[in-house]
Amino acid sequence: MMLMDWYRNDKAAVWLMAAIVITVTLLPLGNLVFPADSPLRVTAYSISLIGKYLCYALLGLSLDLVWGYCGILALGQSAFFALGGYAMGMYLMRQIGSRGVYGNPELPDFMVFLNWQELPWYWFGFNQFWFALLMIVLVPGLLAFVFGWLAFRSRVTGVYLSIITQALTYALLLAFFRNEMGFGGNNGLTDFKDILGFNVHSDGVRASLLMVTGLILIAAFLASRSVINSKLGRVVTAIRDQEMRVRFIGYRVELFKLWIFVFAAVLAGIAGALYVPQVGIINPSEFSPLNSLEIVIWVAIGGRGTLYGGIIGAILVNYAKTLLTGWLPEIWLFFLGAAFIVVTVFLPDGLIGLLQRLPKRIPIRKVKAGAA
Protein backbone atom coordinates (compact mmCIF):
# COMPACT_ATOMS: atom_id res chain seq x y z
CA MET A 1 0.00 0.00 0.00
CA MET A 2 2.66 2.45 1.05
CA LEU A 3 4.61 1.65 -2.07
CA MET A 4 1.56 2.29 -4.25
CA ASP A 5 0.92 5.66 -2.62
CA TRP A 6 4.50 6.54 -3.05
CA TYR A 7 4.40 5.55 -6.70
CA ARG A 8 1.37 7.77 -7.29
CA ASN A 9 3.04 10.74 -5.60
CA ASP A 10 6.40 10.55 -7.22
CA LYS A 11 6.44 8.25 -10.24
CA ALA A 12 9.72 9.59 -11.57
CA ALA A 13 11.55 8.81 -8.33
CA VAL A 14 10.27 5.24 -8.29
CA TRP A 15 11.15 4.69 -11.96
CA LEU A 16 14.60 6.12 -11.48
CA MET A 17 15.35 3.90 -8.50
CA ALA A 18 13.92 0.86 -10.25
CA ALA A 19 16.14 1.57 -13.25
CA ILE A 20 19.20 1.83 -11.02
CA VAL A 21 18.38 -1.39 -9.15
CA ILE A 22 17.78 -3.30 -12.41
CA THR A 23 21.01 -1.97 -13.92
CA VAL A 24 23.17 -2.89 -10.96
CA THR A 25 21.64 -6.38 -10.69
CA LEU A 26 21.40 -7.42 -14.34
CA LEU A 27 24.78 -6.17 -15.51
CA PRO A 28 26.82 -8.04 -12.89
CA LEU A 29 24.71 -11.14 -13.60
CA GLY A 30 25.46 -10.75 -17.29
CA ASN A 31 29.11 -10.58 -16.39
CA LEU A 32 29.28 -13.41 -13.86
CA VAL A 33 26.83 -15.96 -15.31
CA PHE A 34 27.52 -15.98 -19.05
CA PRO A 35 30.77 -17.41 -20.41
CA ALA A 36 33.27 -15.15 -22.10
CA ASP A 37 32.19 -16.13 -25.66
CA SER A 38 28.47 -15.64 -25.08
CA PRO A 39 26.87 -12.67 -26.87
CA LEU A 40 25.02 -11.86 -23.64
CA ARG A 41 28.24 -11.57 -21.68
CA VAL A 42 28.76 -8.11 -20.14
CA THR A 43 32.45 -7.26 -20.14
CA ALA A 44 34.32 -6.22 -17.02
CA TYR A 45 35.07 -2.99 -18.85
CA SER A 46 31.35 -2.23 -19.18
CA ILE A 47 30.80 -2.96 -15.51
CA SER A 48 33.44 -0.46 -14.47
CA LEU A 49 32.18 2.04 -17.02
CA ILE A 50 28.63 1.93 -15.69
CA GLY A 51 30.01 2.11 -12.16
CA LYS A 52 31.87 5.25 -13.17
CA TYR A 53 28.69 6.79 -14.61
CA LEU A 54 26.85 6.12 -11.36
CA CYS A 55 29.61 7.86 -9.38
CA TYR A 56 29.26 10.84 -11.69
CA ALA A 57 25.50 10.67 -11.17
CA LEU A 58 26.03 11.02 -7.42
CA LEU A 59 28.37 13.94 -8.09
CA GLY A 60 25.76 15.57 -10.33
CA LEU A 61 23.13 15.07 -7.65
CA SER A 62 25.38 16.80 -5.12
CA LEU A 63 25.84 19.85 -7.33
CA ASP A 64 22.13 20.03 -8.03
CA LEU A 65 21.53 20.47 -4.29
CA VAL A 66 23.81 23.50 -4.04
CA TRP A 67 23.24 25.02 -7.45
CA GLY A 68 19.75 23.89 -8.43
CA TYR A 69 18.12 24.40 -5.04
CA CYS A 70 20.23 26.95 -3.24
CA GLY A 71 21.37 28.94 -6.27
CA ILE A 72 25.07 28.72 -5.34
CA LEU A 73 26.98 28.18 -8.58
CA ALA A 74 29.79 26.23 -6.94
CA LEU A 75 32.53 25.58 -9.47
CA GLY A 76 34.68 23.48 -7.15
CA GLN A 77 32.54 20.41 -6.62
CA SER A 78 35.20 18.17 -8.14
CA ALA A 79 37.58 19.17 -5.32
CA PHE A 80 35.41 17.31 -2.81
CA PHE A 81 35.07 14.41 -5.22
CA ALA A 82 38.84 14.17 -5.58
CA LEU A 83 39.45 14.42 -1.83
CA GLY A 84 37.05 11.55 -1.18
CA GLY A 85 38.84 9.69 -3.95
CA TYR A 86 42.25 10.32 -2.42
CA ALA A 87 41.06 9.09 0.99
CA MET A 88 39.92 5.84 -0.63
CA GLY A 89 43.11 5.71 -2.72
CA MET A 90 45.26 5.97 0.41
CA TYR A 91 43.46 2.98 1.92
CA LEU A 92 43.95 1.01 -1.30
CA MET A 93 47.66 1.94 -1.34
CA ARG A 94 48.09 0.63 2.19
CA GLN A 95 46.36 -2.60 1.12
CA ILE A 96 49.17 -3.23 -1.35
CA GLY A 97 51.51 -3.91 1.58
CA SER A 98 54.77 -5.45 0.53
CA ARG A 99 53.56 -6.39 -2.97
CA GLY A 100 54.79 -3.10 -4.48
CA VAL A 101 57.60 -2.94 -7.01
CA TYR A 102 60.09 -2.16 -4.26
CA GLY A 103 58.55 -4.67 -1.86
CA ASN A 104 58.66 -2.24 1.02
CA PRO A 105 56.07 -3.36 3.60
CA GLU A 106 55.88 0.06 5.26
CA LEU A 107 55.97 2.58 2.42
CA PRO A 108 54.06 2.93 -0.87
CA ASP A 109 56.28 2.72 -3.96
CA PHE A 110 56.33 6.44 -4.70
CA MET A 111 57.66 7.18 -1.21
CA VAL A 112 60.45 4.63 -1.60
CA PHE A 113 61.25 6.24 -4.95
CA LEU A 114 61.49 9.64 -3.23
CA ASN A 115 63.84 8.13 -0.63
CA TRP A 116 61.42 8.75 2.19
CA GLN A 117 62.32 6.87 5.36
CA GLU A 118 58.98 6.77 7.12
CA LEU A 119 55.29 7.18 6.53
CA PRO A 120 54.06 10.80 6.91
CA TRP A 121 51.73 11.27 9.91
CA TYR A 122 48.69 11.97 7.73
CA TRP A 123 48.95 8.47 6.26
CA PHE A 124 48.51 6.85 9.67
CA GLY A 125 45.26 5.00 10.11
CA PHE A 126 44.64 4.51 6.40
CA ASN A 127 45.46 0.81 6.69
CA GLN A 128 42.11 0.57 8.49
CA PHE A 129 39.01 0.56 6.28
CA TRP A 130 36.80 2.23 8.92
CA PHE A 131 39.32 5.04 9.25
CA ALA A 132 39.33 5.58 5.49
CA LEU A 133 35.51 5.66 5.49
CA LEU A 134 35.59 8.28 8.22
CA MET A 135 38.06 10.41 6.26
CA ILE A 136 36.02 10.06 3.05
CA VAL A 137 33.22 11.90 4.85
CA LEU A 138 35.26 14.13 7.17
CA VAL A 139 37.87 15.61 4.86
CA PRO A 140 35.53 16.95 2.15
CA GLY A 141 32.99 17.88 4.82
CA LEU A 142 35.52 19.80 6.89
CA LEU A 143 36.98 21.64 3.91
CA ALA A 144 33.48 22.61 2.77
CA PHE A 145 32.66 23.71 6.31
CA VAL A 146 35.67 25.99 6.70
CA PHE A 147 35.53 27.35 3.16
CA GLY A 148 31.76 27.81 3.24
CA TRP A 149 31.79 29.41 6.67
CA LEU A 150 34.30 32.02 5.56
CA ALA A 151 32.62 32.67 2.22
CA PHE A 152 28.97 32.73 3.29
CA ARG A 153 29.61 34.68 6.48
CA SER A 154 31.29 37.41 4.41
CA ARG A 155 28.29 37.23 2.08
CA VAL A 156 30.32 36.34 -0.97
CA THR A 157 27.75 35.48 -3.62
CA GLY A 158 27.21 35.11 -7.33
CA VAL A 159 30.11 35.17 -9.71
CA TYR A 160 32.61 36.02 -6.94
CA LEU A 161 31.76 32.84 -5.11
CA SER A 162 32.03 30.85 -8.34
CA ILE A 163 35.48 32.28 -8.93
CA ILE A 164 36.80 31.47 -5.47
CA THR A 165 35.48 27.92 -5.69
CA GLN A 166 37.41 27.56 -8.96
CA ALA A 167 40.45 28.97 -7.19
CA LEU A 168 39.99 26.46 -4.38
CA THR A 169 40.04 23.46 -6.67
CA TYR A 170 42.90 24.92 -8.72
CA ALA A 171 44.97 25.48 -5.58
CA LEU A 172 44.39 21.87 -4.57
CA LEU A 173 45.33 20.73 -8.06
CA LEU A 174 48.70 22.51 -7.80
CA ALA A 175 49.27 21.26 -4.26
CA PHE A 176 48.57 17.63 -5.12
CA PHE A 177 50.90 17.84 -8.11
CA ARG A 178 53.82 18.41 -5.76
CA ASN A 179 55.74 15.29 -4.79
CA GLU A 180 56.50 16.74 -1.34
CA MET A 181 52.80 16.64 -0.48
CA GLY A 182 53.05 12.88 -0.15
CA PHE A 183 50.12 11.94 -2.36
CA GLY A 184 52.05 10.53 -5.28
CA GLY A 185 52.46 13.83 -7.12
CA ASN A 186 51.77 13.82 -10.83
CA ASN A 187 51.04 10.09 -10.99
CA GLY A 188 48.69 10.04 -8.07
CA LEU A 189 47.77 6.77 -6.44
CA THR A 190 47.40 3.62 -8.54
CA ASP A 191 48.38 -0.06 -8.97
CA PHE A 192 45.80 -1.05 -6.39
CA LYS A 193 45.61 -4.72 -5.45
CA ASP A 194 42.97 -5.45 -2.83
CA ILE A 195 39.94 -3.92 -1.20
CA LEU A 196 38.95 -5.49 2.13
CA GLY A 197 41.26 -8.36 1.22
CA PHE A 198 39.61 -9.11 -2.15
CA ASN A 199 41.27 -8.53 -5.48
CA VAL A 200 39.97 -5.24 -6.95
CA HIS A 201 40.39 -6.54 -10.50
CA SER A 202 38.27 -9.64 -9.97
CA ASP A 203 34.83 -9.83 -11.59
CA GLY A 204 33.16 -10.41 -8.24
CA VAL A 205 34.62 -7.26 -6.69
CA ARG A 206 33.77 -5.18 -9.76
CA ALA A 207 30.20 -6.43 -9.65
CA SER A 208 29.95 -5.75 -5.91
CA LEU A 209 31.35 -2.25 -6.32
CA LEU A 210 28.77 -1.52 -9.00
CA MET A 211 25.98 -2.74 -6.73
CA VAL A 212 27.23 -0.77 -3.75
CA THR A 213 27.51 2.34 -5.92
CA GLY A 214 23.93 1.87 -7.14
CA LEU A 215 22.60 1.39 -3.63
CA ILE A 216 24.48 4.38 -2.27
CA LEU A 217 23.21 6.49 -5.16
CA ILE A 218 19.65 5.49 -4.27
CA ALA A 219 20.24 6.19 -0.58
CA ALA A 220 21.76 9.59 -1.41
CA PHE A 221 18.86 10.37 -3.71
CA LEU A 222 16.31 9.51 -1.02
CA ALA A 223 18.21 11.48 1.61
CA SER A 224 18.46 14.51 -0.68
CA ARG A 225 14.81 14.19 -1.50
CA SER A 226 13.77 14.26 2.14
CA VAL A 227 16.08 17.23 2.78
CA ILE A 228 14.48 19.10 -0.13
CA ASN A 229 10.97 18.19 1.03
CA SER A 230 11.71 19.37 4.57
CA LYS A 231 11.20 22.90 5.80
CA LEU A 232 14.96 23.36 5.46
CA GLY A 233 14.56 22.54 1.76
CA ARG A 234 11.95 25.26 1.42
CA VAL A 235 14.18 27.76 3.23
CA VAL A 236 17.01 26.86 0.86
CA THR A 237 14.77 27.35 -2.19
CA ALA A 238 13.63 30.65 -0.71
CA ILE A 239 17.26 31.74 -0.31
CA ARG A 240 17.81 31.03 -4.00
CA ASP A 241 14.86 33.23 -4.95
CA GLN A 242 14.92 36.04 -2.34
CA GLU A 243 17.94 35.90 -0.09
CA MET A 244 17.27 39.25 1.60
CA ARG A 245 13.69 38.32 2.43
CA VAL A 246 14.82 35.14 4.16
CA ARG A 247 17.14 37.18 6.38
CA PHE A 248 14.36 39.57 7.29
CA ILE A 249 12.12 36.73 8.42
CA GLY A 250 14.85 35.73 10.84
CA TYR A 251 16.80 32.87 9.26
CA ARG A 252 20.59 32.88 9.36
CA VAL A 253 21.04 32.52 5.62
CA GLU A 254 24.77 31.76 5.89
CA LEU A 255 24.16 28.75 8.12
CA PHE A 256 21.55 27.28 5.78
CA LYS A 257 23.86 27.71 2.81
CA LEU A 258 26.64 26.16 4.82
CA TRP A 259 24.52 23.15 5.75
CA ILE A 260 23.55 22.33 2.18
CA PHE A 261 27.08 23.05 0.91
CA VAL A 262 28.64 20.65 3.44
CA PHE A 263 25.99 17.99 2.81
CA ALA A 264 26.67 18.19 -0.93
CA ALA A 265 30.44 18.08 -0.36
CA VAL A 266 30.07 14.90 1.65
CA LEU A 267 28.02 13.30 -1.14
CA ALA A 268 30.68 14.36 -3.65
CA GLY A 269 33.38 12.85 -1.44
CA ILE A 270 31.52 9.54 -1.26
CA ALA A 271 31.13 9.61 -5.05
CA GLY A 272 34.90 10.07 -5.39
CA ALA A 273 35.60 7.22 -2.99
CA LEU A 274 33.40 4.86 -5.01
CA TYR A 275 34.98 6.04 -8.25
CA VAL A 276 38.61 5.27 -7.37
CA PRO A 277 38.48 1.48 -6.89
CA GLN A 278 36.39 1.11 -10.08
CA VAL A 279 38.66 3.26 -12.20
CA GLY A 280 41.84 2.08 -10.56
CA ILE A 281 43.57 5.44 -10.23
CA ILE A 282 43.29 8.84 -8.61
CA ASN A 283 45.57 11.66 -9.68
CA PRO A 284 45.62 15.46 -9.38
CA SER A 285 43.86 15.95 -12.72
CA GLU A 286 40.62 15.14 -10.84
CA PHE A 287 40.99 18.56 -9.21
CA SER A 288 41.04 20.25 -12.60
CA PRO A 289 38.76 23.33 -12.68
CA LEU A 290 37.44 22.03 -16.01
CA ASN A 291 35.96 18.96 -14.30
CA SER A 292 33.92 21.19 -12.03
CA LEU A 293 32.60 23.09 -15.03
CA GLU A 294 31.59 19.83 -16.66
CA ILE A 295 29.46 18.91 -13.64
CA VAL A 296 27.57 22.17 -14.09
CA ILE A 297 26.88 21.19 -17.69
CA TRP A 298 25.57 17.75 -16.66
CA VAL A 299 23.16 19.35 -14.22
CA ALA A 300 22.08 22.04 -16.69
CA ILE A 301 21.42 19.46 -19.40
CA GLY A 302 19.58 17.12 -17.03
CA GLY A 303 17.56 19.91 -15.48
CA ARG A 304 18.54 21.73 -12.34
CA GLY A 305 16.48 21.90 -9.19
CA THR A 306 14.95 18.49 -9.83
CA LEU A 307 17.39 15.98 -8.22
CA TYR A 308 16.74 13.57 -11.15
CA GLY A 309 18.28 16.12 -13.45
CA GLY A 310 21.73 15.86 -11.91
CA ILE A 311 21.64 12.07 -12.08
CA ILE A 312 20.26 11.71 -15.60
CA GLY A 313 22.36 14.57 -16.98
CA ALA A 314 25.55 13.03 -15.59
CA ILE A 315 24.79 9.62 -17.06
CA LEU A 316 23.71 10.86 -20.50
CA VAL A 317 26.54 13.34 -20.95
CA ASN A 318 29.14 10.83 -19.88
CA TYR A 319 27.67 8.15 -22.11
CA ALA A 320 27.83 10.61 -25.00
CA LYS A 321 31.40 11.39 -24.00
CA THR A 322 32.37 7.71 -24.11
CA LEU A 323 30.80 7.31 -27.56
CA LEU A 324 32.10 10.53 -29.06
CA THR A 325 35.62 10.38 -27.70
CA GLY A 326 35.73 6.90 -29.21
CA TRP A 327 34.63 8.04 -32.69
CA LEU A 328 35.79 11.62 -33.00
CA PRO A 329 37.83 12.66 -29.99
CA GLU A 330 38.51 16.15 -31.31
CA ILE A 331 34.87 17.22 -31.51
CA TRP A 332 33.89 16.24 -27.96
CA LEU A 333 34.49 19.65 -26.37
CA PHE A 334 32.68 21.42 -29.22
CA PHE A 335 29.76 19.06 -28.77
CA LEU A 336 29.69 19.67 -25.02
CA GLY A 337 29.83 23.43 -25.45
CA ALA A 338 27.12 23.38 -28.10
CA ALA A 339 24.89 21.14 -25.96
CA PHE A 340 25.30 23.54 -23.07
CA ILE A 341 24.34 26.54 -25.18
CA VAL A 342 21.35 24.78 -26.73
CA VAL A 343 20.08 23.68 -23.34
CA THR A 344 20.58 27.09 -21.74
CA VAL A 345 18.80 28.90 -24.57
CA PHE A 346 16.03 26.47 -25.49
CA LEU A 347 15.60 24.20 -22.47
CA PRO A 348 16.18 26.26 -19.32
CA ASP A 349 14.71 23.39 -17.29
CA GLY A 350 16.86 20.80 -19.03
CA LEU A 351 15.71 17.43 -20.31
CA ILE A 352 13.64 16.81 -17.18
CA GLY A 353 11.77 20.04 -17.86
CA LEU A 354 11.10 18.84 -21.40
CA LEU A 355 9.76 15.51 -20.13
CA GLN A 356 7.56 17.24 -17.56
CA ARG A 357 5.98 19.38 -20.24
CA LEU A 358 5.23 16.44 -22.54
CA PRO A 359 2.57 14.50 -20.57
CA LYS A 360 0.52 17.66 -20.07
CA ARG A 361 -0.03 18.01 -23.78
CA ILE A 362 -1.45 14.57 -24.32
CA PRO A 363 -4.54 14.88 -22.08
CA ILE A 364 -5.43 18.19 -23.75
CA ARG A 365 -5.59 16.45 -27.11
CA LYS A 366 -7.75 13.73 -25.65
CA VAL A 367 -10.19 16.29 -24.27
CA LYS A 368 -10.39 17.97 -27.67
CA ALA A 369 -10.98 14.68 -29.39
CA GLY A 370 -13.71 13.86 -26.88
CA ALA A 371 -15.41 17.21 -27.42
CA ALA A 372 -15.41 16.79 -31.18
Binding site: T237, F248, Y251
Partner: protein, 259 residues
Protein backbone atom coordinates in the same frame (compact mmCIF):
# COMPACT_ATOMS: atom_id res chain seq x y z
CA UNK B 1 6.52 52.06 42.34
CA UNK B 2 7.70 48.57 41.68
CA UNK B 3 9.64 48.29 38.47
CA UNK B 4 9.61 44.87 36.92
CA UNK B 5 12.93 44.40 35.24
CA UNK B 6 12.54 42.87 31.79
CA UNK B 7 14.49 39.75 31.03
CA UNK B 8 17.61 40.33 28.98
CA UNK B 9 16.82 40.27 25.28
CA UNK B 10 13.19 41.18 25.86
CA UNK B 11 11.85 44.47 24.62
CA UNK B 12 11.45 46.99 27.39
CA UNK B 13 9.04 49.71 26.31
CA UNK B 14 8.26 50.82 29.85
CA UNK B 15 9.14 54.44 29.10
CA UNK B 16 6.68 54.73 26.21
CA UNK B 17 8.66 54.57 22.99
CA UNK B 18 9.52 51.15 21.58
CA UNK B 19 11.87 52.44 18.92
CA UNK B 20 14.45 55.17 19.42
CA UNK B 21 16.51 56.67 16.65
CA UNK B 22 18.83 59.41 17.76
CA UNK B 23 21.01 61.62 15.53
CA UNK B 24 21.33 58.93 12.89
CA UNK B 25 23.38 59.78 9.80
CA UNK B 26 24.08 57.61 6.79
CA UNK B 27 25.98 58.69 3.73
CA UNK B 28 26.64 56.91 0.48
CA UNK B 29 29.62 58.26 -1.45
CA UNK B 30 29.22 61.67 0.14
CA UNK B 31 25.44 61.80 -0.36
CA UNK B 32 23.71 62.15 3.00
CA UNK B 33 20.79 59.75 2.83
CA UNK B 34 20.03 60.36 6.50
CA UNK B 35 21.18 63.53 8.18
CA UNK B 36 21.14 63.67 11.95
CA UNK B 37 17.68 62.09 12.06
CA UNK B 38 15.87 61.50 15.34
CA UNK B 39 12.61 59.62 15.57
CA UNK B 40 10.65 57.95 18.38
CA UNK B 41 7.88 55.45 17.85
CA UNK B 42 5.54 54.59 20.71
CA UNK B 43 4.43 51.11 21.61
CA UNK B 44 1.24 50.20 19.73
CA UNK B 45 1.37 53.33 17.61
CA UNK B 46 0.51 53.54 13.92
CA UNK B 47 2.82 56.08 12.33
CA UNK B 48 2.94 57.22 8.74
CA UNK B 49 6.14 58.39 7.12
CA UNK B 50 5.86 60.59 4.09
CA UNK B 51 8.30 62.65 2.12
CA UNK B 52 9.39 63.28 -1.44
CA UNK B 53 11.58 60.82 -3.30
CA UNK B 54 15.07 60.64 -1.90
CA UNK B 55 13.95 61.88 1.53
CA UNK B 56 15.50 58.82 3.14
CA UNK B 57 12.43 56.70 3.94
CA UNK B 58 13.81 53.42 2.63
CA UNK B 59 17.26 54.08 4.10
CA UNK B 60 15.59 54.65 7.45
CA UNK B 61 13.97 51.20 7.21
CA UNK B 62 17.29 49.71 6.16
CA UNK B 63 18.89 51.15 9.29
CA UNK B 64 16.19 49.85 11.62
CA UNK B 65 16.28 46.34 10.14
CA UNK B 66 20.07 46.09 10.08
CA UNK B 67 20.59 46.15 6.33
CA UNK B 68 22.53 49.41 6.53
CA UNK B 69 24.75 50.43 9.42
CA UNK B 70 24.67 54.20 10.12
CA UNK B 71 27.84 56.27 10.26
CA UNK B 72 26.77 57.93 13.51
CA UNK B 73 23.85 57.88 15.89
CA UNK B 74 22.10 55.26 17.95
CA UNK B 75 19.13 53.00 17.34
CA UNK B 76 17.45 51.25 20.26
CA UNK B 77 14.59 48.80 20.36
CA UNK B 78 12.94 49.45 23.72
CA UNK B 79 15.26 50.58 26.50
CA UNK B 80 17.80 47.82 26.24
CA UNK B 81 18.27 46.36 22.76
CA UNK B 82 20.93 48.13 20.71
CA UNK B 83 19.93 47.37 17.13
CA UNK B 84 23.28 48.51 15.77
CA UNK B 85 24.89 45.46 17.38
CA UNK B 86 22.52 43.01 15.69
CA UNK B 87 22.29 41.69 12.14
CA UNK B 88 19.12 41.21 10.11
CA UNK B 89 18.03 37.79 11.42
CA UNK B 90 18.70 38.80 15.02
CA UNK B 91 16.66 41.98 14.58
CA UNK B 92 13.84 39.99 12.99
CA UNK B 93 13.98 37.58 15.91
CA UNK B 94 13.90 40.42 18.42
CA UNK B 95 10.56 41.44 16.92
CA UNK B 96 10.91 43.83 14.01
CA UNK B 97 9.33 42.76 10.72
CA UNK B 98 9.54 44.45 7.37
CA UNK B 99 7.56 44.55 4.16
CA UNK B 100 9.50 45.71 1.14
CA UNK B 101 8.52 48.40 -1.32
CA UNK B 102 8.42 45.93 -4.19
CA UNK B 103 6.45 42.91 -3.04
CA UNK B 104 8.97 40.17 -2.28
CA UNK B 105 7.44 36.78 -1.69
CA UNK B 106 8.94 33.39 -2.49
CA UNK B 107 7.51 32.96 -5.96
CA UNK B 108 8.30 29.26 -6.32
CA UNK B 109 6.63 28.28 -3.06
CA UNK B 110 2.91 28.10 -2.38
CA UNK B 111 1.04 30.73 -0.41
CA UNK B 112 0.86 28.33 2.53
CA UNK B 113 4.58 27.59 2.39
CA UNK B 114 5.39 31.29 2.28
CA UNK B 115 3.51 31.76 5.53
CA UNK B 116 5.00 28.59 7.00
CA UNK B 117 8.52 29.93 6.51
CA UNK B 118 7.62 33.22 8.14
CA UNK B 119 5.99 31.52 11.14
CA UNK B 120 7.43 32.65 14.47
CA UNK B 121 9.30 29.57 15.67
CA UNK B 122 12.82 28.34 16.25
CA UNK B 123 14.73 29.13 13.05
CA UNK B 124 17.83 27.11 13.87
CA UNK B 125 19.15 24.99 10.96
CA UNK B 126 18.72 21.52 12.49
CA UNK B 127 15.34 22.36 14.03
CA UNK B 128 14.23 23.59 10.63
CA UNK B 129 15.38 20.36 8.99
CA UNK B 130 13.22 18.27 11.31
CA UNK B 131 10.39 20.79 11.72
CA UNK B 132 6.81 19.51 11.72
CA UNK B 133 3.85 21.87 11.88
CA UNK B 134 1.83 21.50 15.06
CA UNK B 135 -1.96 21.79 14.98
CA UNK B 136 -1.68 25.14 16.69
CA UNK B 137 0.76 26.43 14.08
CA UNK B 138 -1.54 25.24 11.29
CA UNK B 139 -4.37 27.14 12.92
CA UNK B 140 -2.34 30.31 13.10
CA UNK B 141 -1.47 29.99 9.40
CA UNK B 142 -5.15 29.43 8.60
CA UNK B 143 -6.04 32.48 10.63
CA UNK B 144 -3.60 34.68 8.74
CA UNK B 145 -4.85 33.22 5.43
CA UNK B 146 -8.33 34.41 6.44
CA UNK B 147 -7.10 37.85 7.46
CA UNK B 148 -5.29 38.43 4.18
CA UNK B 149 -8.12 36.91 2.15
CA UNK B 150 -6.03 34.18 0.50
CA UNK B 151 -7.67 31.11 2.06
CA UNK B 152 -8.81 29.90 -1.35
CA UNK B 153 -5.33 30.34 -2.80
CA UNK B 154 -3.40 28.49 -0.11
CA UNK B 155 -1.95 25.88 -2.47
CA UNK B 156 -1.32 28.26 -5.32
CA UNK B 157 2.25 29.12 -6.27
CA UNK B 158 2.92 32.63 -4.97
CA UNK B 159 4.37 33.71 -8.31
CA UNK B 160 0.93 33.28 -9.88
CA UNK B 161 -0.76 35.78 -7.55
CA UNK B 162 -1.82 39.25 -8.67
CA UNK B 163 0.26 42.22 -7.59
CA UNK B 164 -2.22 43.18 -4.89
CA UNK B 165 -2.40 39.61 -3.61
CA UNK B 166 1.38 39.46 -3.37
CA UNK B 167 1.31 42.63 -1.28
CA UNK B 168 -1.22 40.94 1.00
CA UNK B 169 0.77 37.77 1.20
CA UNK B 170 3.79 39.77 2.26
CA UNK B 171 1.75 41.51 4.93
CA UNK B 172 0.57 38.04 5.97
CA UNK B 173 4.17 36.89 6.28
CA UNK B 174 4.79 39.86 8.54
CA UNK B 175 1.84 38.88 10.70
CA UNK B 176 3.16 35.31 10.96
CA UNK B 177 6.36 36.66 12.46
CA UNK B 178 4.32 38.22 15.28
CA UNK B 179 6.57 41.26 15.39
CA UNK B 180 6.29 44.06 17.92
CA UNK B 181 7.17 46.60 15.24
CA UNK B 182 6.09 46.30 11.61
CA UNK B 183 7.73 48.39 8.95
CA UNK B 184 5.49 48.55 5.93
CA UNK B 185 6.91 50.13 2.79
CA UNK B 186 4.26 51.24 0.28
CA UNK B 187 1.61 48.66 1.12
CA UNK B 188 -1.01 49.83 -1.35
CA UNK B 189 1.08 50.37 -4.48
CA UNK B 190 -0.70 48.68 -7.36
CA UNK B 191 -3.85 47.90 -5.41
CA UNK B 192 -7.45 48.54 -6.45
CA UNK B 193 -9.66 50.88 -4.42
CA UNK B 194 -11.32 47.98 -2.63
CA UNK B 195 -8.00 46.39 -1.79
CA UNK B 196 -6.71 49.72 -0.47
CA UNK B 197 -9.71 50.00 1.82
CA UNK B 198 -9.20 46.52 3.19
CA UNK B 199 -5.49 47.19 3.72
CA UNK B 200 -6.37 50.33 5.67
CA UNK B 201 -8.75 48.34 7.86
CA UNK B 202 -6.14 45.68 8.46
CA UNK B 203 -3.42 48.13 9.44
CA UNK B 204 -5.81 50.03 11.70
CA UNK B 205 -6.82 46.80 13.41
CA UNK B 206 -3.19 46.14 14.30
CA UNK B 207 -2.50 49.32 16.21
CA UNK B 208 -2.48 48.94 19.94
CA UNK B 209 -1.28 45.37 19.56
CA UNK B 210 1.79 46.24 17.48
CA UNK B 211 3.60 49.37 16.43
CA UNK B 212 3.23 49.93 12.71
CA UNK B 213 5.29 52.29 10.60
CA UNK B 214 3.85 52.86 7.16
CA UNK B 215 5.70 54.55 4.32
CA UNK B 216 3.28 55.58 1.61
CA UNK B 217 2.95 58.01 -1.28
CA UNK B 218 -0.80 57.71 -1.58
CA UNK B 219 -1.92 60.75 0.47
CA UNK B 220 -5.54 59.72 0.52
CA UNK B 221 -4.54 56.41 2.04
CA UNK B 222 -2.30 58.09 4.60
CA UNK B 223 -5.16 60.41 5.56
CA UNK B 224 -7.46 57.43 6.05
CA UNK B 225 -5.20 55.66 8.53
CA UNK B 226 -2.84 58.19 10.09
CA UNK B 227 -3.07 59.69 13.52
CA UNK B 228 0.48 60.95 13.47
CA UNK B 229 2.46 61.70 10.39
CA UNK B 230 6.20 62.31 10.14
CA UNK B 231 7.49 64.18 7.13
CA UNK B 232 11.04 63.42 6.04
CA UNK B 233 13.03 65.73 3.85
CA UNK B 234 16.65 65.43 2.77
CA UNK B 235 17.39 62.82 5.39
CA UNK B 236 15.91 64.45 8.46
CA UNK B 237 12.55 64.98 10.09
CA UNK B 238 10.93 68.12 8.68
CA UNK B 239 7.87 68.06 10.87
CA UNK B 240 5.59 65.77 12.78
CA UNK B 241 1.89 66.02 13.68
CA UNK B 242 -1.61 65.14 12.58
CA UNK B 243 -2.36 64.95 8.87
CA UNK B 244 -4.08 68.34 8.95
CA UNK B 245 -1.24 70.02 10.81
CA UNK B 246 1.29 68.57 8.45
CA UNK B 247 -0.61 69.43 5.30
CA UNK B 248 -0.98 73.03 6.35
CA UNK B 249 2.66 73.42 7.33
CA UNK B 250 4.18 75.88 4.88
CA UNK B 251 7.52 74.02 4.92
CA UNK B 252 5.82 70.81 3.85
CA UNK B 253 3.94 72.58 1.08
CA UNK B 254 7.19 74.06 -0.12
CA UNK B 255 8.98 70.71 -0.11
CA UNK B 256 6.24 69.00 -2.02
CA UNK B 257 5.39 71.75 -4.48
CA UNK B 258 8.86 73.21 -4.85
CA UNK B 259 9.61 76.90 -4.78
Amino acid sequence: MIAIAPKPGEVDASHGPILYLESVSVSFDGFKALNNLSLYIDEGELRCLIGPNGAGKTTLMDVITGKTKPDTGSVFFGQTIDLLKLDEPAIAKAGIGRKFQKPTVFENLTVFENLELALATDKNVWRTLFAKLSGEQRDSIDKVLMVIGLSDHRHQIAGALSHGQKQWLEIGMLLMQEPKVMLVDEPVAGMTHQEIERTAQLLLSLQGERSVIVVEHDMEFVRSIAKRVTVLHEGSVLTEGTMDEVQNDPRVIQVYLGD
